[in-house]
Symmetry: C2
Subunit: 459 residues, 2 copies
């Protein structure tokens, strides 16, 4: 599809939105996200309302010029990179809480609000928004919705999409769609809101979000269990869930990760353990404590050498520090980290671990596994050096093998990051030719000129 | 769109599927569902595999002949009625459990399996499939998915769509789509499975379903609270949920319903109560008991005159009998019941009750309210006589007022039944012109000749 005149579009956008720029520094700043793939937009726009977004999209639609929306740029798969140029729509100025409805148990927010800001607002008022991606201190709710973000608490509380009750979306022709409900359930026509969740800005630009909220649990109990054998840690995950226990988090950290963190933190971590599980229970104080006692029983019966319950907030923070320091500590192994957030059925985690250990041994590349074992979402990190062409090629080949293995284990290529640019070559392996065809038909129906975040998801 | 030759299609279908009939008795039998609106198909087909469904759809697609899939026909909105004739595809022979994966916490079933059969199978093995529509003893899982069915346990466990991990769907051209995951989460491309949930057979014919299952709770505690004042019962619902208590069910029954059931059962029900709440908690025995104690405290502090906890299964059954007998007992009031499953935010339930009471007083038509108060899904029943033309017209007008009231209260027209034929005239009031336009664009993209269950959902 031939694109129209970009300069006249920029001029017209400037009249709608005061904060429109072609400053080269800004173009560079908004040319990448956490995937570090770069492509500059032709202009960067900071709209402040649904109406402005609608006008901007109309201007671009008339000229078939690409519009790529973005929040904080913490996405891991290049989803926010304007690979065909055009307008980068930065939504961080649209960061208000529009409505707080405690009786209806929902909030309405603009897409640019940072996850942790919303969580903080709610906590002060006795409420709770569970989805907690690792990026929560900087990532925006709009980005969380557009990618379908998860987090450690997904094992109990589900992912972002489970909290989306309604959306306001600017469509490819600039028209505005209000979709969704203010109730817990509803079956009136197709579930359009779910179609936009995880669609990475390719079907519309989200300008308002209604999110379900929960009453804040009275207590959170945190504990770390140390397993001499990796496979026992994995078996314990399944045993805990089969007992009907519903931990708030159930995180797995393998020996390589423990050793990296210990080298970094010098915290006296159990460097000879096969794996550790970091777990939380929540609810009424007595219930959360009882549930952690049940977990302790399962873990000790299942080969754990210890389970230490944090006695206070400081001790809990210290336990979490191990988990949170993994990513930063990994560069002690190799300068480049290729992080795949593959997800397998819980009963296949052990196989995933074994087979990636074999790959590591065979290739000599360190492969570090950690993440949300409770829902099978393991972050498999292949460590390499992007400046060593031969090794990097081997690393990419190994990543391909890991993705094939994941599918062979009935898994999915991405639990919470999405497809964007980086996983585009692999999507058909998972969803098949018919899945791609149907998805493209929907894209074509909603965005016939392919102006919304073109070049993403589909090969 | 002009349709092709039906007789040649029937001949060809007969070669693919042995059980194909044009027997007038069968055509009549499959001409309606629980909405009692009738339109005969041209033939009735009982396929036994995805391949057969695919072949049948291909035969119809070549002639642009309608295909309307159905299960047990328990739907309340005419969704299974073949209003444009063509082939009625009865999926009740496809009723196998294909896979039971306790470690992966999922089952795979064919669409024709009855909800209660699946539940029974799982319970015997210590597992649990929560969605429990009132029709569960006869309705099929395929129909539950196609309508997005709910049930009393939705307040804690969510609705059918929350359990759908994957689907096999025969598309409008007869091609077969496998979509979804075998894991708890995944964000690989558009969430196609969610698009088919609640799409009432208009986008594809579901031939295989993968459902999430849970470990069966150790105990269920049942109790009934009696409130002299209706408004106190409604306030207690909100208070319970705000305490962070998560009842498994939280059902509301108003005075008119209590009196009807008492006239029918002679069970000594509290006929002077404003309303009663029927509630369950579940989980580990001690936890479920503790949670019901917490509920008792909230109810008694909030104006309940009593809360009786069932001491055993028989007492629990007796309490549920009241709830389950409402529909049958209502014909004591009037021969015709118009049942709307509107849903409002919980904090607007009281207004819905008050305003429908006013309507009842003004029109002289009994209006009976009961249902899933925990998620705001109230079954509002306007009682009338369809043979009294004048009164029936008044009743339909009143239903229109109730739907308008529901939207004014930020509610949705249907919590769990769907749109089908009966609510088609109202859908644009809720989802708006843009919502209808986008939904139709998706329908057109997936079913360009409009052969899949035509005449439904959209005006």
């Amino acid at each position: 599809m031939e694109r129209g005149n970009i300069q006249s579009a920029i001029d017209e956008i400037g009249k709608v939105c005061g904060h429109t720029t072609t400053d080269p520094a800004e173009l560079l700043l908004y040319s990448f996200d956490s995937a570090k793939i770069k492509h500059k937009p032709d202009c960067v726009v900071f709209p402040e309302s649904t109406e402005e977004v609608s006008e901007i999209v109309k201007i671009c639609a008339r000229r078939r010029i690409p519009v790529t929306a973005r929040g904080a740029g913490t996405g891991c798969i290049g989803g926010a990179v304007p690979v065909e140029g055009g307008a980068a729509l930065v939504l961080t100025k649209m960061n208000r809480i529009i409505a707080f409805n405690p009786d209806g148990l929902y909030v309405e927010v603009e897409p640019g609000i940072v996850n942790a800001e919303l969580s903080g607002f709610l906590e002060k008022r006795g409420f709770f928004y569970p989805p907690d991606p690792a990026s929560l201190k900087s990532s925006t709710i709009g980005g969380n919705v557009a990618t379908g973000a998860g987090g450690p608490s997904a094992v109990k509380y589900g992912v972002t999409g489970d909290y989306v009750m309604g959306l306001t979306v600017v469509l490819a022709d600039g028209s505005v769609l209000d979709t969704g409900i203010k109730t817990d359930k509803g079956v009136v026509g197709y579930d359009l809101k779910k179609l936009f969740v995880g669609s990475e800005g390719t079907l519309g630009i989200i300008t308002k979000i209604r999110l379900k909220i929960l009453p804040k649990p009275e207590a959170v109990v945190t504990a770390t269990a140390v397993f001499p054998e990796r496979k026992d840690a994995v078996s314990a995950v399944i045993a805990i869930l089969h007992k009907g226990i519903r931990p708030r988090t159930l995180e797995y950290i393998d020996r390589t990760a423990i050793r990296c963190v210990e080298g970094y933190l010098k915290a006296g971590l159990p460097v000879n353990a096969g794996a550790i599980l970091l777990m939380e229970t929540d609810g009424k104080t007595a219930d959360a404590e009882k549930e952690m006692d049940d977990i302790r029983e399962v873990c000790l019966a299942g080969g754990a050498e210890s389970l230490i319950i944090a006695e206070n907030r400081e001790e809990a923070e210290a336990q979490w520090k191990t988990r949170r320091s993994i990513s930063a500590s990994l560069n002690r192994l190799r300068p480049t980290k290729i992080n795949e957030d593959v997800t397998v059925p819980r009963n296949r985690i052990a196989e995933l671990m074994e087979r990636t250990a074999e790959m590591s041994e065979r290739t000599g590349l360190p492969i570090v596994n950690f993440g949300h074992a409770g829902d099978g979402n393991i972050h498999v990190n292949v460590m390499t050096d992007a400046n060593d062409a031969e090794e990097y090629e081997l690393a990419l080949k190994t990543v391909g093998e890991i993705l094939d293995l994941t599918l062979a284990l009935d898994g999915t290529l991405s639990g919470e990051h999405g497809i964007g640019i980086t996983k585009k070559p692999y999507i058909a392996r998972e969803i098949g030719a018919t899945g791609v065809k149907i998805s493209k038909a929907i894209k074509k129906a909603l965005d016939p000129d392919n102006i919304l975040n073109p070049g993403k998801i589909f090969p």
